[in-house]
Point group: C4
Chain length 315, copies 4
């Protein structure tokens, strides 16, 4: 198997993908994030908490907000309790549990700045703590509501990609094709696609070559319907020759990056995905995924058909 | 009518508009959004609520805010009512309606964090619900006020387009012309226009060709007065030859996209429109839409004259 | 004076400035905004209130906020007064003025969501109005504080320009020069300058030619010190020949636009200015505006010297 | 030492760095900000407070918020105290200190809009001041929380650079190399590097030449692992010839600017650094800083190894 990469010698291997030919495992995870772990940093330095919070699952994010809210109020309730419940007016002193829950509710009324006043601080210490709890509440809710709205309004591309990439007949030969479509009520303009490929020998260790591959159309004005991205397999393609053998004997990963402008967000948005050897279907062609409406006045784009294809005979 | 498109054979048909030659109906609606419906998705996935809210009519948006506010407070009022009005101090118990409205107002005082305290929770359950209502209120108002300010400050181009595009005399021949002007107190710089055309045979079904067409000037430094965009109809234009016949026998749609930088928003802004065959006026020329002020110290731009034209004789 | 513009016949007149050769008065006002008035619109359509508020003088902006706050509270005070002060607890009823001021203060405590509760609504109508006043207060403060912070954090270039442009000796000939410098603790990178010129005959009416002129260096990596922008007056310049006569017999306006990236704002910023014939100084050269610090460890940039020049002899 | 710069005569000296060849001291400070002081401005004009606040150390920023909060409340406490504590209900009048602290706490409850109401204003003057304190509180917290969240969410590149730049063997000759790596959970795409060099004679005063130098790869698609930036020292490099002598006899500073797009922030981010003569290591090569994980499923990037190099023999 020596000389495996000789077949690519006619092509200039690219070094500008940002990936290394000595890296291990899949390059991009299915979520489009790189398969790399950082080490050698103290944990505080390691994370951009903004990115953690923005990328967190919605359920976990809400849960985190609620848990933080409860924990902070329990913390302040303890402080008020230590100061003494005599420094708060209106506390129900019938039993310890009522005392503590009332102090907890006073804390929450201070932290949210509701401040009914049925329970209110008297005396220096309790008032001082309440003064800072209200201050802390405003700053904390600045982060919480900022992230809450930030997650809601964050510029995203909202694209669906076909699960598979196909090797389809194209012009006189073959082409690698996959497709993508917008799936929400946003409008992307000036969309650009960038394609990179990593090819590594399945048996040999740590040998990877990178190529930039061309799409027949790499820029469209408005991303209105689905966009089938077509990479013609000609002599400039690393897949030229016995395409099926290449995909079977080598570990191939095709990196896709879409960049476009969204008017609603008034911002550039980016989305990435990758296809590996296992996700390539040979001798297949995509089926149409849109059709005229009943009255021929509009076009209906069926997003559940994005991966629909039929087998075709490629000679 | 076979060979209808043969007349365009000298031109390279474009595939990079993002529209398909098998789509149905007008391509862009008059509001600049594509005439496409999405299908095959569950309703939750289908919408970017941010885009829905940002694009909603102002009256409906305000109405939605008010209705949501009332519904949420009625919901919480029911919960407090179920818990028992004995768990709220200061409720007017003279009759059931007064009871319920007082509970409703307590809810609103909690949700907005006003918290007068005339009505205040006592006991565990009511206090707990109030604790979470205040929390929910802060998060809800984060979205409501974020969208309210976001709609107010959203980068937009604020351009008016002439209702019609004209076929006017230009140099030794003809040109397609339309014009646009800024109509607000913002200033757009580095404005760029992109023009695409879809031409389809009126009688045959589902045949559309796309072309990118050139404007004589496609970039200006500052969009200060009106900008008349001129597409010269020469041998590189799909309208070359018997222009009037082309527009009459074919369904033509001209897509216009303007992109510029707005300093106030410190952001790129985009606006789109389209002209169909019916909106083309032949043998006409735009009339000036600005004039010097009385004292010749400034220029007055009459935006109500943006579509004013006169008929001219074109041989 | 016929043939005044013949001298420019060797140069291609530009049409991409966005200005018209039939416009009146100075093109750009000294603040960099165009000297154009919009007409033919209803007043509601005419303004982008965001731009009005963002560009408003700070004193007027604060004044507007305060006045709006007072007016809204007076308005609501009247409503509560009409409903009847019996529907508010804790009102000082000693005299009419005390009554009204207490109602006013109740309104402000509701609008800001302070809600002390010393004065609180009882009964349906007053509670209902208070419910909506708190709601309106939250939305209003969203706009007020959004604009307040938006003005504070708005991306701006913070550049000072020399008051005059000079005709200075340069290489073997002459050059038009002016300079600019950052004056705050921000850092601009990838700064680009665009220069346009409008030349019109002083005596003839409504004749203006536009030219794009070149700067010797039109892009710098970091705008750290002052940047002297140099337009060499050679055969490609509209000022070639008897430069002084051109500026004296014609109305000249030089438009300057600087575009750069600011890291603090993480945004592109733009600033514009213009120089007219009256602001051109002949046979002069700028004096240095920076010098080493006493210990030669840093450089001191004297922004008050930005327009310092000396007269030189140009033959 | 006359003719020191003659060695560079084959290269075009660049003037577009934005630095001046008569400036003093290091050009960029280690934090990437220029080593320049502004003078000749009144202090109010001199600072962009947004930039000051955004760049302030976190500890100082929080301290400033807390101190401002206390100072403002003491200020308002004095005003209420001057108006008379009889105009506030619920004040503990047992002694002067209790009086003043209660007034202080009333102020803080107003400024944060908590408004318990245990202490509440009665009478015109105290109510009026409270009305404006609540208003001021909302505006102040708009700035405080805006900055607090703005600092948290500000687009930054989060890159670590190697402390040293190396002169390493490269192809048949030598190259200047340094490396950088992302160190947080963000993802940078379309990263671009710009390199500039300032070379000045150590002995002569105030003579500096600027050059733009080329990197072998100046753009990568995704900044996933470390990026070693390689400047080949060939005849187009200012370091060609006796490289070591150049660095020893001249004061060299290499300016590095990285620009990339971050999806989480949906914004362009920029980071800068510089290397001076003292930070150049001769005859050395970087050691690998990433390795496969134990199970070869992912790649581990060791950020503490970013400056690890070994000495090599360069002939």
């Amino acid at each position: 198997m020596a000389g495996f990469f000789d077949r690519f010698s006619r092509l200039k291997s690219e070094n500008d993908t940002g990936f290394s030919n000595t890296a291990s495992g899949r390059f991009l995870n299915s979520n489009g994030y790189p398969n790399v772990k950082m080490a050698g940093l103290n944990p505080l330095e390691k994370y951009s908490w903004y990115h953690v919070m923005i990328n967190l699952n919605s359920f976990l994010f809400i849960l985190l907000l609620i848990v933080s809210y409860i924990v902070i109020n329990i913390f302040f309730a303890f402080i008020y309790y230590l100061i003494g419940i005599d420094h708060l007016t209106g506390i129900d002193k019938s039993n310890v549990i009522n005392e503590f829950t009332d102090v907890f509710f006073f804390s929450s009324q201070t932290f949210t700045t509701v401040g009914y006043g049925r329970i209110a601080p008297v005396g220096f210490l309790a008032s001082l703590v309440a003064t800072f709890e209200a201050f802390l509440g405003l700053l904390s809710f600045a982060i919480a509501t900022g992230l809450f709205y930030g997650r809601f309004s964050r510029p995203r591309a909202f694209l669906k990609f076909s699960q598979n990439a196909l090797i389809s007949p194209y012009q006189d030969g073959k082409a690698l094709m996959f497709r993508l479509a917008p799936f929400k009520n946003n409008l992307l303009t000036d969309a650009v696609v960038i394609l990179n490929v990593a090819i590594s020998n399945k048996e040999a260790d740590s040998q990877t070559e990178f190529f930039t591959i061309e799409a027949e159309i790499n820029k469209i004005n408005s991303l209105v319907l689905n966009w089938t991205i077509v990479h013609k397999i000609d002599e400039n393609s690393p897949f030229f020759g016995n395409t099926q053998e290449i995909f079977q004997t080598a570990e191939v990963e095709i990196f896709v990056q879409i960049r476009a402008f969204d008017e609603g967000f008034a911002s550039t948005v980016v989305q990435r995905t990758s296809y590996t050897s296992e996700e390539i279907i040979f001798d297949a062609a995509f089926l149409p995924m849109f059709k005229p409406s009943y009255n021929h006045e509009t076009t209906i784009l069926n997003l559940d058909k994005i991966n629909d294809f039929k087998k075709v005979n490629l000679n």
